[in-house]
């Protein structure tokens, strides 16, 4: 109650201040704004007096732990100078200039001049409500979507086949030591070094299909495609830091519910085991981040199921069996777009092939991946490139802000990309050992004994996988 009385008294002081200052007279306000005519500088003194008293007083007030009658000081947190701030202020200035009335004096003269001010107040509230709706659309990137459709329309009208690009590939300018690791040559020399003759022939798409997201993100249902497998304790060691475990592989696409929160593991694929332990599922499976974005209204919803795509070295099986299966699983849940997170090098190929298949069928896709060169070699519609060791496609482990940033950037790419093969690099940097790019499968760093050991290990793994596949 005392809070309300102080609020009432403070309001009255403000109203009386406005009255004494002359702010309640629209003609006087316009006299101040009429800089090029007969200028009445009085209101500069109103502003000056107000700012002076407030600025001096705030120095002492904000020293306090908390306000006298409430728990904390609620100061504005926004700090960016953005388009809405400037555009809104310009619009307000036009209204202020025409009428000589800003919100404070309008409220203060509601009963003084009720005939004129009540309808004015009504219209002001109507504008305020519309403005709030506009801001909600801005926050949900609804307007960005409309803007993008408009550019697309313009580009078609103008006969250009390529609409305006929203971002420039500044990542191309990176100095060499920052350059992404090229996995293809590294893997090739690694297997040749191990003594395998014929190098693996990677898939290469001549044509990469592309689908525009047909609705704003805040209305879209987003699915997650992963190459991780559902955790089954019967399949041996899959915990953090587990060695490669071929027994945990899966060979058919799956759709599994997102509630209860699933447990998926990546022990069955070739992540960068030297540098990443896969101890944080969120670094390769962005479900939690997507759910936070859905709660925030950034996306419409997360699909009730997530989808598993097998990591299959046979490109024929991937394109002819896995891709159609994945598509039908996604269609069953009516997803509008999918976020796909590959882990190992072959995962990147499988996911790129699946992305092309889904796009051709009208589902927009974005890949969150760490092997940029594989994706660009195979060809994919959109890649958010996280320059992190394999197994961290969705962000840094145990770093929720980085996972949220990556998830948001991936979703934004659904909207911002104008053509297939769009690659955007996230600003995330690996916080662990700096030389992870140097020692990943680097045959030049291995001794003959190590090479022999790895060769034996790899042969055993291949045999296990083949046996498992036969058994299924």
């Amino acid at each position: 109650m005392t809070r309300l009385i102080t609020a009432l008294i403070i309001g009255a002081i403000f109203g009386i201040g406005l009255a004494i200052a002359g702010m309640l007279n629209p003609a006087k306000v316009v006299g101040f704004l009429d800089v090029f005519g007969d200028w009445d500088p009085s209101l500069a003194l109103v502003m000056g007096g107000g700012v002076l008293v407030n600025a001096i007083g705030l120095r002492f007030v904000l020293e306090r732990e908390a306000p006298i009658q409430s728990a904390e000081f609620l100061l504005p947190t926004a700090s960016s100078i953005d388009k809405p701030l400037v555009a809104g202020s310009v619009i307000f200035g036009i209204g202020w200039g025409i009428s000589g009335l800003c919100p404070g004096p309008v409220v203060a003269s509601l009963l003084l001049n009720s005939n004129a001010m009540l309808p004015f107040f009504g219209m002001l509230i109507a504008g305020l409500l519309l403005g709030r709706i506009v801001m909600r659309l801005v926050a949900a990137r609804h307007l960005a979507w409309a803007e993008w459709r408009f550019y697309l329309f313009l580009s078609r009208v103008n006969g250009h086949n390529r609409p305006m690009q929203f971002f420039d590939g500044d990542s191309e300018m990176e100095p060499d030591y920052n350059a992404p690791l090229d996995y293809l040559p590294r893997i090739k020399s690694y297997y040749i070094g191990l003594g395998y003759g014929e190098p693996y022939e990677w898939a290469k798409l001549d044509h990469v299909p592309f689908t525009h997201l047909e609705k704003p993100l805040c209305e879209a249902r987003i699915g997650i495609v992963t190459t991780a497998s559902i955790f089954d304790p019967a399949n041996g060691e899959q915990g953090p830091g587990a060695p490669y475990n071929g027994k945990a592989k899966f060979f058919r696409c799956y759709a599994e519910p997102i509630t209860p929160f699933p447990d998926v593991r990546i022990a069955h694929i070739a992540i960068d085991r030297a540098h990443t332990t896969a101890s944080d599922m969120a670094s390769y499976f962005p479900l939690a981040a997507m759910q936070r974005l859905a709660t925030a209204g950034y996306i419409g919803s997360v699909s009730p199921n997530f989808y598993g795509l097998p990591t299959n070295r046979s490109q024929r099986v991937t394109t002819q069996t896995d891709c159609p299966e994945l598509l039908s699983l996604c269609r069953d849940d009516a997803v509008d777009a999918v976020v796909m997170v590959p882990n190992c090098p072959v995962c990147h190929q499988s996911v790129a092939l699946a992305a092309a298949h889904l796009e051709a069928a009208g589902i927009a896709t974005v890949i969150m991946g760490c092997a940029r060169d594989i994706i660009s070699y195979v060809g994919a519609p959109r890649l958010l490139f996280n320059d992190l060791p394999l197994g961290n496609g969705a962000g840094l482990p145990h770093d929720q802000p980085s996972q949220d940033l990556a998830a948001r950037m991936a979703l934004d790419l659904l909207l911002d990309a104008c053509e297939p093969r769009t690659i955007k690099a996230s600003p995330l940097k690996w916080v662990g050992a700096a030389d992870w790019k140097k020692d990943y499968s680097n045959i030049a760093l291995l001794s003959d004994a190590e090479i022999a050991r790895l060769r034996a290990e790899f042969d055993a793994v291949k045999k296990d996988a083949a046996d498992l596949k036969k058994a299924l």
């Binding site: 309300l4 102080t6 609020a7 403070i10 009255a12 109203g15 009386i16 009255a19 200052a21 702010m23 309640l24 629209p26 003609a27 090029f36 007969d38 009445d40 009085s42 003194l45 109103v46 502003m47 007096g49 107000g50 700012v51 002076l52 407030n54 904000l62 306000p67 006298i68 409430s70 000081f73 504005p76 960016s80 100078i81 809405p84 400037v86 555009a87 809104g88 202020s89 310009v90 307000f92 200035g93 036009i94 209204g95 202020w96 200039g97 025409i98 009428s99 800003c102 919100p103 404070g104 003084l112 004015f120 107040f121 219209m123 002001l124 509230i125 504008g127 305020l128 709030r132 801001m135």
Partner: protein
């Protein structure tokens, strides 16, 4: 540019301004809130708690009542001279509401409070609405 000395009221303007600044200061000291009228109005709508809504209403009630009280006590009528009428008047009202909602603040929030906190965001907003208001008046006077 000529200065309209006849209508220049430096003393009352400064005094009134100081009271406005004092009100902004007291609201921060007591309730920890920024005294931005458009923000206080906007907060009445949407998902505000009833406690949040009630202090806003009490403040606005004070703003409505203050000038009436002042007029009754001082026996000096508060002058009101309209500058716009008809459709312009209502369009202006709508633009004031729309612009302050999108620009997150008005003369009190960005002007009195934001500038006093040396907020760069508020400084830009004040420059933007001042410039556009001055330009609008110049254009309206030409028509």
């Amino acid at each position: 540019m000529t200065i309209a000395w006849a209508s220049f009221t430096p003393l009352s303007a400064f005094l009134g301004g100081c009271l406005i600044g004092l009100a902004a200061l007291l609201l921060m000291a007591f309730q920890g809130r920024v005294m931005g009228v458009s923000g206080i109005l906007g907060g009445l709508f949407g998902a505000a708690s009833s406690g949040d809504r009630s202090w806003r209403l009490a403040f606005l009630l004070g703003v409505v009542g203050g000038p009436l009280l002042w007029q009754a006590l001082s026996k000096v009528p508060i002058i009101w001279q309209a500058v716009a009428s008809g459709p312009q008047f209502y369009i202006a009202a709508f633009l004031v509401g729309l612009g302050t909602a999108i620009g997150s603040g008005c003369t009190s929030g960005h002007g009195i409070c934001g500038l006093a906190r040396f907020s760069p965001r508020s400084f830009v907003a004040v420059m933007a609405f001042m410039t556009s208001a001055v330009a609008t008046v110049a254009i309206v006077n030409q028509i």
